[in-house]
Symmetry: C2
Subunit: 315 residues, 2 copies
Amino acid sequence: MSALTDRVVAGDVRAAARLMRLIEDGQPEAEAALRELWPKTGRAQMVGITGNPGAGKSTLVDRLVAHLRAQGRTVGVLAVDPTSPFTGGAILGDRIRMQDHALDPGVFIRSFATRGQLGGLSRATSDCARVLDAMGKDVVLIETVGVGQDEVEVCRLAHTTVVVVVPGLGDDIQAIKAGILEVADLFAVNKSDREGADRTVRDLRSMLELNHAMGTDVGKHEIAIVKCVASRGEGVAELWAAIDAHYQSLRKGDGLLAREAQRARHDLVEVLRERLLQVALKKLAQEGAQLDDLALRIARRETDPYSVADEAARL
Amino acid sequence: MSALTDRVVAGDVRAAARLMRLIEDGQPEAEAALRELWPKTGRAQMVGITGNPGAGKSTLVDRLVAHLRAQGRTVGVLAVDPTSPFTGGAILGDRIRMQDHALDPGVFIRSFATRGQLGGLSRATSDCARVLDAMGKDVVLIETVGVGQDEVEVCRLAHTTVVVVVPGLGDDIQAIKAGILEVADLFAVNKSDREGADRTVRDLRSMLELNHAMGTDVGKHEIAIVKCVASRGEGVAELWAAIDAHYQSLRKGDGLLAREAQRARHDLVEVLRERLLQVALKKLAQEGAQLDDLALRIARRETDPYSVADEAARL
């Protein structure tokens, strides 16, 4: 093992942060390190926390961290932030609040901005979750805004995905995407001291029953709905108990290995795609065909993407 | 040319609908057809319309269609809908309203649900836009909910991308993602008869100025902000004039070819990735290594994704 991966496995925070930066920047050293770390992964309990902006995800994650730390478990947090350079305010505030845990060596927190990472986000997040796993964190919490395709993709790497909703957003429940429903293992109704919390629970319940009646929940565990008020710490222990119950039910039988294999399949396909593309582009370049020139020829309708792909696949 | 592509080029609606279904289902015939159609593409003016749910995008698209038809231009509409099987209501209503144009042979409208299409959505939308282009539509409008990575990706295929916002969502402007800002060529402030419309325009203006000061808008045209009330048809002609002005400015000089080359580059990389992956998986299978078995071995930590990728790249 290299010095960097040795230090990551020993739990060194600065080494982990450095490796995550290499991953985010797409540096080749990152892959070498991840390959070395691979046998050390597969131990952490991975939990996804997703939901619309304003659902109180950060506060909930903050409270879950405190709950887990009180139980003596170490925690890694990856927060995928859809911040623009113009936001600042609220989201920065959230992150600063999380820094309550900044001096606790049992907690590692890292934020990702989605800026400039179109497409590569889920891959980078997945790889960074592996780093936290290899560091020996007992639990990894992955917080994402559950609105886009790529964000949904991020949830697929969790053992348990919690979708956070708030009362009084009846229409929003309607607007919960099919993709989100497909990944939800558990619902948290946050801010449930607000009016309409019981109605939200009922709406979710009937939605799940409809889903069940339509047969679109085949192979899924029963989905629990937990009420909480994260800002006051209410319901957080109950939420964790439900998350853990889901995880334990996966551990019985082949559930855990099946999820891990599904994730490995996804990782493999991603790694393969990228590797093969790089090899093909290099071969094309050796034949004197640069990507930008090919694109220009296609744009001018002198050739088409399919014929170029045929040629590259033959090389 | 095959009978199907001949009919598409002749503007046959049923042939186009059939080809789009083949594209959405990822059928191999789709690729053969797209390859044949390639030389017939590159003529349509492509316009992306994006924004948060509730911004009134469908109504705006509806009015733009009416405006363009009144000018005698033919129009194709692709609406990327984040509908869950549970929604129905509002979104179905929107689509039915669009059917005002259903009997007009100069208009072709198609909706995509994002359900089950994680990742493949932007590719399918791009390919369907090419079909509308090959059909001879003068203008192709692509409507997406601009919240996720994949939806942003969809916008990259447009010549002009309009971001639709509404007044009274001051916080939402803060929450506009960097990705969306990067693709915005034009802002439409819809429902601008509501209180706060002028403030929204001012907020957008200062955001753009900040963006300019930070140097993140290099190479971009000046971004216009147009107020409209789509439900009453107000400001629609002005919005189209601004869209067209942006398009005409691209046509001067190399702007249009540069955008087209950028899009061709993206298409080529996507086609290549998929082609190379299929070839590699076939070779691996011939060596007795199925994807699912490999994933299981990786999950058991008997190997890792990087070593498997190395092996596949050597085959």
